[in-house]
């Protein structure tokens, strides 16, 4: 079971700054465990962020995104009270989505 996505929104003048932290091992497939065996690759491949019904941000990730991916971006057309939903899919087909309300 994956851990909840942490979503923080902060108003900065006309913009809303969004910070997202997605707890995920982001295994590269190049790391060895304590017995010297390669740990298979396991990483987030897709992230989609929607505001209400509208897609406002998306990312496609390789193994080169750090463990527990952190994303920050700014919305110019977000109103207080709107729902911001973040959804990820990983290379093993697991998914997770969580939401926050725009501050």
């Amino acid at each position: 079971m994956s851990q909840a996505i942490r979503i923080r929104t902060r108003r900065e003048g006309a913009l809303v700054n969004v910070q997202i932290l997605m707890p995920h091992p982001m295994e590269t497939g190049m790391r060895q465990d304590e017995n010297g065996r390669l740990v298979p690759a396991h990483h987030i491949t897709d992230v989609v962020v929607t505001l209400g019904e509208r897609k406002v941000f998306a990312a496609r990730m390789s193994i080169a995104v750090s463990r527990d991916p952190l994303l920050s971006f700014r919305l110019s057309s977000a109103r207080a009270g709107q729902a911001l939903r973040v959804a990820w899919t990983d290379s093993q087909g697991q998914t997770r989505n969580d939401a926050a309300v725009i501050a």
Partner: protein, 155 residues
């Protein structure tokens, strides 16, 4: 500041020249379009030249893209990167690392209503050149930064 932008531009131009001499900039348009549609190809690329090919050719250097990242990184597992584009109509931002086993690190979609800005953290296998590339309606642009990495982010 001006001299800095100039040397960065020169470095990029030299890179683009090297790519052109390999025949990468002259990729058939059909292949570039296919790569853009399917999108899978960019992450399958194992070398920087292959990645540029999958992306449809070398980006033009642009001083309108700001790439912030430390010049020296202790641990390549966490390289903080911030990209801001002043190119009008920016709808895609990519981070590429020349020197990583999979050079295309991440591809961001920036719809209208979202600022052309993104911050994240990436892995670098070792010292190399980080590129922030931007697509808008006018084409494909990039800016670069050399980064020295003390401990590999690949382990």
């Amino acid at each position: 500041m001006r001299a800095n932008a100039f040397t960065q531009r020169r470095r990029l131009l030299q890179g683009a020249g090297a790519m052109a001499s390999l025949g990468i900039a002259a990729l058939p348009a059909a292949r570039a379009a296919a790569a853009g549609d399917a999108g899978i190809g960019v992450f399958a690329a194992k070398t920087f030249a292959e990645a540029i090919g999958e992306l449809g050719g070398a980006p033009l250097p642009s001083s309108l893209i700001t790439l912030e990242a430390p010049a020296i990184v202790e641990n390549g597992a966490f390289v903080p990167v911030t990209v801001t584009s002043a190119l009008p109509g920016t709808h895609e931002i990519l981070l590429l690392v020349d020197g990583n086993p999979q050079p295309v690190a991440v591809q961001f979609t920036i719809p209208a209503g979202t600022e052309p800005f993104v911050a994240t953290r990436i892995r670098m296998a070792g010292s190399g050149t980080l590129y922030a590339a931007v697509r808008n309606d006018d084409g494909f642009f990039a800016t670069a930064r050399a980064i020295s990495v003390n401990k590999s982010g690949c382990a």
